[in-house]
Symmetry: C2
Subunit: 202 residues, 2 copies
């Protein structure tokens, strides 16, 4: 095939793809607050949530962040997004992983404190995106009641987006969500003897 | 079981978990620039990359971003991270999806221009993290030579982290990476008639 024929063939194929994509785009015209769940064992769930925080800020939205579980060490995301107190309402409501705290009662109490803050954010129509980081873990462990959490999520402002991250998303949350991604670990640096690097893992 | 016994049992179990986790942490003591690949068809790959950009900035690192493929519309991530020209070197080197441009030669040219910029960033020891957004697509389509790209990645400064996103990561890149996550789509709002929402999808 000559280079011209090749280019022509590419153009024809892409035009066909474009027609199909355009038809799908035309079929999707609803605007609403989206509920996203990013779950699974692989690296990239919380960072995906924080990327959406950055995107939302770039579109002039106000953002709320509640970090469950985490809180035993300073993170880059917290240092960074706390620079914008007018745009980001940032809350850390944990004291570290469950095996660090070793106190279920205290973990439950922290989760409940976190949810009280989340409830406040889920009632604010001026907050365009709420990130509930590691909420899945808290639900999975039964520190919060999933039905009660789902009721609060369902009652949020119509155009408010919510991103929930963490392993082990409960089935009922997956069922309620619009978008659900499962992140699997093909491989991880940690297993090759590389410790958690600032800017990447935290 | 009484509440006290239950709390005691939780504490014992968590202490055991902590010992196992601590042993794994003790075994992972290497510090180095990590090569991460976030691939697969699900939502959250680019946003994960941008979350790591935010994390890196929070730790005082300088960051370089090259967005391949994208460029046909303004994104939240671009508006946001361009606020920090001293900290983020931001480059958009595409004109949209391949079915929008319908011109393979032009797509190849844009990819090559993007790679020339990436090469510059991959030589700067003062840049702690480089995000190569949608590079996988460009490699998968053969717009750039994967071996040449891998050689440039291997020659980067020892402590520089690189995040590569996009569907269809080539096997050789997966083999070279320290951390690889595959994001699968359990479900997506788009298929429910909801169009791409600013702050979430772009």
């Amino acid at each position: 095939m000559s280079q011209t024929e090749d280019a022509q063939r590419h153009q024809t194929l892409m035009a066909k793809t474009k027609a199909a994509v355009d038809a799908r785009i035309a079929a999707a015209q609803t605007d609403c607050g989206v509920l996203l769940v990013i779950t699974g064992p692989g690296k990239g769930k919380s960072s995906s949530g924080f990327g959406m925080v950055a995107r939302a800020l770039g579109h002039g939205l106000k953002v709320g962040v509640v970090q469950f579980i985490k809180g035993s060490r300073a993170t880059g995301e917290e240092s960074f997004f706390r620079r914008f107190p007018q745009e980001v309402s940032y809350h850390v409501c944990g004291e570290g992983f469950t095996w660090e705290t070793q106190n279920r009662e205290r973990d439950v109490q922290k989760a409940q404190e976190g949810w009280a803050i989340a409830q406040g954010l889920l009632q604010r129509a001026d907050v365009g995106l709420v990130l509930l980081d590691e909420l899945n873990i808290v639900l999975n462990k039964g520190y919060l009641d999933t039905d009660a959490v789902l009721a609060d999520l369902a009652a949020r402002p119509a155009m408010q987006h919510v991103v929930v991250t963490g392993r082990g998303a409960p089935d009922a949350l997956v069922a309620a969500a619009h978008t659900v991604s499962e992140v699997s670990a093909v491989k991880h640096a940690f297993k090759q003897g590389i410790r958690a690097q600032p800017g990447v893992e935290f």
